[in-house]
Every structure is written in structure tokens, then in C-alpha cells.
């Protein structure tokens, strides 16, 4: 069982540890607040600020993952459009016709082009590199990119769900430590009263 980054012992006493995943530290679920506070030898206030710090860290990671997710979600339709374009070119080639098209020269200005011999396409590999492929060869790298992108997105979504769980556990722990503290203060107040009579 992976231990969370602050506790010296592995989880016994109070609660179980949700293991870390891909570098994100896990969150400890607290069974009993009293035992938990004793275990980490902190009073309620210090524990609260420690846990809230953890929550902040999770929020930062979540922002990062959400940005990555948005990027991937934009990339996938792009690749699908490329696959579509290559398929259209292949279809046109098999009928032997030339393909006529309007393409953008500058914003709002289009020019007419006629593509006669449809043999190869250039695939943009990123930055300033474009590689020429024959029509048959082009579909493979595109499909592979599409599959990779979809697989990465799946992993990312699972990461985000895992993170969400950690955030929820941490929020519940904060609420419970706070409630426990309020409860303890009440007990102390009640205990102190008889002494005043």
C-alpha cells in the first residue's frame, strides 16, 4: 500500500490511503478524526491549514490536466478532417477526375485551384516540418495519430476523475476536522461551566 507523502507509518489507525497515480499524491481517508489528528501530531488548526494546502496543490494539477484535455479535444477533430481530406482525394483519384477547389490565400480571399494528378499529400508533422506521402501511405500515420490522441485523452479523463475523487475526499476531511474541532470546543465549554458555579 503506497503511503501518502506525510505519514511516516503506512495506513493503520485512522483511515485508508488512496494511492498516488502518475505523480499525483494520494489523499488519506479519515475514519476517526481524533485518531487521525493524533497520528499526524497536529492540532485541528494546523491540520486544517495543511489539508487546505493539499487541496490547493490538487487544484493546480487539475488546471493543468484540464488544459491538456482541451488541447487534445481540439486536436482530434483536426486529425479526423485530415483523414477525410485524404479519403476524398483517393476517391477522386479512382474516378480519374481532377479536383477543383477554393482555398484561402489570405483572410476572406480565396483562389481557385485544380488538382490534376493526385498522387501524394504533404502531412504536417509539426513546427516547420512537412513530409510528402503517397495517398496510400498517408492514411496510416494519420490513423495512428488519431488513435494515439484518443488513447491519451482516455488516460487524461481517468486522471481527472481520480483527481476529482481526491479533491472530494480532502474537502470532506476538512469539513470533518472543522466540525470535530467545533464539537470539542463545545464540550470544553460545557465542561468549564460547572466549575464556575
Amino acid at each position: 500500500m503506497a503511503s501518502s507523502s506525510f505519514s511516516s507509518s503506512s495506513s493503520t489507525g485512522s483511515g485508508r490511503v488512496v494511492e498516488e497515480r502518475r505523480g499525483i499524491p494520494g489523499a488519506q481517508f479519515v475514519e476517526d478524526v481524533q485518531i487521525y489528528l493524533t497520528q499526524i501530531s497536529l492540532d485541528a488548526n494546523s491540520a486544517l491549514s495543511f489539508i487546505q494546502q493539499r487541496l490547493q496543490q490538487y487544484n493546480v494539477v487539475e488546471m493543468k490536466l484540464l488544459t491538456q484535455q482541451r488541447d487534445l479535444q481540439a486536436k482530434i477533430p483536426d486529425i479526423e478532417k485530415c483523414v477525410d481530406a485524404v479519403a476524398t482525394l483517393q476517391a477522386k483519384k479512382s474516378t480519374g477526375e481532377a479536383l477543383s477547389a477554393n482555398f484561402e490565400v489570405s483572410e476572406g480571399i480565396y483562389s481557385h485551384a485544380r488538382i490534376e494528378e493526385i498522387d501524394s499529400v504533404g502531412l504536417w508533422l509539426g513546427d516547420t516540418i512537412m513530409l510528402e506521402y503517397s495517398l496510400e501511405e498517408a492514411t496510416d500515420p494519420l490513423q495512428k495519430n488519431l488513435e494515439n490522441a484518443k488513447a491519451s485523452l482516455e488516460i487524461l479523463v481517468a486522471d481527472l476523475q481520480f483527481l476529482r475523487d481526491l479533491v472530494t475526499i480532502t474537502q470532506v476531511t476538512i469539513a470533518r476536522v472543522y466540525n470535530w474541532d467545533v464539537h470539542q470546543r463545545r464540550i470544553r465549554q460545557v465542561g468549564a461551566k460547572p466549575a464556575q458555579d
Partner: protein, 126 residues
């Protein structure tokens, strides 16, 4: 998560898992609502496009593929648009079904969690 008035309600691991699941379902619900909205918009655009096609008397239509507008015969464009509408409608149906299921699971969990925690927990959208 609302803070209670200093009560000592026990939270078990099972409770925590229920709360976690509720959170996950809620997120999924929002994602689905966005997807549904996008699919409906796409469907509307495709509808508008096929209406335009019916009105136009040109034989060759400029159909967008990637970043260019290819000159495609009207019939082929009609077919393509029909196909795209099929795909989008199926996606829409699937999303709506999943949304129903998610809402059902969420209301089950609400019953369980409100049952145990009553006022100490808030599961509503703020």
C-alpha cells in the same frame, strides 16, 4: 460541501465512496450537457445546409473539406450531408440516454446520502 453545526456524524469509507461517485456523476452530467448542446447545434447547421441545397440551382457546390472548399456535385453533397446528419443524430441519442442514466444514479445516491447526513450535506447545484 456544507459545514455542519459541529455534529459528530461518522463518515464511513462507503459514504466517502458514495460522495465521490456523486461528484464524478455530476461532472459527467455537465460534460454530457455540453456535448448535447454541441450536437444539437451541428444538427441545426446540417439542416440549414440541406435546405440551402434544395433552394440552390447550381450543379456544383463548394463543400468544405479540411481547410479548403472542394467543388463537389450537388448530389454527392446531399448524400454527404445526409450521412453527417445520421451520425450526429445517433450521437445525440446516445448522449441523451447516458444523461438519463446519470440523472437516475445521481438521484439514487442523493436518497442514500441525504438519508444518512440530512442537513450536514448539500448536493445541489449552487
Amino acid at each position: 460541501m456544507q459545514q455542519g453545526g459541529g455534529s459528530e456524524t461518522e463518515v464511513t469509507w462507503e459514504d466517502q465512496q458514495n460522495i465521490n461517485n456523486f461528484g464524478r456523476l455530476n461532472n459527467r452530467l455537465h460534460e454530457l450537457e455540453d456535448e448535447i448542446k454541441f450536437a444539437k447545434e451541428t444538427n441545426d447547421n446540417l439542416e440549414d445546409a440541406s435546405n440551402e441545397l434544395i433552394i440552390t440551382d447550381e450543379e456544383v457546390v463548394r463543400f468544405q473539406i479540411g481547410e479548403v472548399f472542394a467543388h463537389v456535385p450537388k448530389d454527392e453533397v446531399e448524400d454527404r450531408i445526409e450521412q453527417m446528419k445520421e451520425v450526429t443524430s445517433q450521437k445525440l441519442e446516445k448522449f441523451e440516454e447516458e444523461k438519463e442514466s446519470v440523472l437516475g444514479q445521481m438521484s439514487e445516491l442523493k436518497k442514500i446520502l441525504y438519508g444518512k447526513f440530512k442537513d450536514s450535506i448539500n448536493l445541489e447545484e449552487d
